[in-house]
């Protein structure tokens, strides 16, 4: 449900797990000769990576020279993907790729190094559009009590106007 409080263990999340740096090390090793450069980039990426999950959406930021900040609304999530290769799983990691309808060719946001990726996926799913109801029933029906109260307000205002008009006359 939108606006519902965030589970505390998710609201508390800010930094990725330490194992992420280990994974980055292997990832940088795969670039062979470029290792010193890529490792340096990954090192700063890891140390500047910050997450924030609030009631509206996800904030994520990283980088010093190239600063990145992404803010993404839960209700705009199109699909959630979970990726992991063997090394990542050995380290207890999984990547969660969150897609929105923005045109970028990569996934809009890749959540790396989160402590409990599957629980995070379930949390994101629960905030997604269309996760709570099988179908949008009664699309335009305004809720009855609100309508009744507003009608009553209108009639009160009308009688106030009538009183004022009567006094003027």
């Amino acid at each position: 449900m939108p606006g519902a409080p965030i589970p505390p263990e998710i609201a508390r999340l800010e930094r990725p797990r330490e194992e992420l740096l280990t994974w980055y090390f292997f990832k940088a090793l795969a670039t062979l000769l470029a290792f010193p450069v890529t490792m340096l980039v990954f090192y700063f990426r890891y140390h500047t990576m910050r997450y924030k999950f609030d009631e509206e959406g996800i904030h994520m930021s990283w980088g010093i020279l190239m600063r990145h900040e992404i803010m993404l609304n839960y209700s705009r999530i199109q699909d959630i993907q979970l990726h992991s290769n063997v090394i990542e799983r050995w380290l207890g990691l999984m990547r969660i790729e969150v897609q929105t309808a923005a045109g970028a060719s990569d996934s809009e946001m890749t959540l790396e190094g989160l402590p409990n990726p599957e629980a995070m996926r379930d949390f994101l799913y629960s905030r997604m559009r269309g996760a709570h109801t099988a179908a949008p029933a009664a699309a335009n029906a305004a809720p009855e009590p609100l309508q009744a109260v507003l009608l009553e307000v209108a009639s009160e205002l009308r009688s106030i106007r009538e009183i004022l008009e009567a006094r003027k006359a």
Partner: protein
Amino acid sequence: MIRWLQKKILHLMKVPAEPQPPDGSAGSARVFRSGRNYYRWRLALWFSANLGVLILLAAVSFALARPIKAGPPWSRYIAEALMASLATAFPVSVFFTFLQQRMNYELRWYVVTDRCLRVRSGILNVHEITTTFANIQEVRLSAGPLQKLLGLADVEVHSAGGGAGKGSSDSHAARFEGVDNAPEIRDFILVRLRQYRDSGLGEKDHSRPSAFSEGSLAAAQLVLTEARTLRAALARR
């Protein structure tokens, strides 16, 4: 024996357990699987690939046999060592790639519930995609001539996520690969899709009146009491 080995491998590679349908829709979940012919099709590919490698190896060793015999003795030792290691490595690779095909077939789940779908595949690289029907843009069915012959087809379900991701042709699609009941799956999905008439691009969920009635109702009631007291005050004067 093979079962046991597979179990060990899955454990060693920490492959997560079978995917569960997401919360709130467990009762309506239906799990589709790839068709039996899909497995046969993959085995045929596996077989022809390995046959190709075998023929290539035989051709190379045949072509090199004479120059090595004529060459110095150390080149013969190297060639013999190479042959011996290939002779052991090849059967091992054949066996493990066979296991891979088998597990790739067994580790595919296409879960459809009343409001979402979840597709999982892969052993080394595990890939899982979850999306709700509210976000689905199109459903595609495709089958090549060979697939048709085997009674297979791929069903692709696309969300609005725009791009083709790294590596795979389209990472925004949930692919029901090699299913033998594609029309059934398509209809199953289309029936659920029909319930959504919006564009699937992030409009408010109309289906949750409580989301905006709670706060605004209280506010409206406040306005009402204010209006009432104002009228009462005016009438008293």
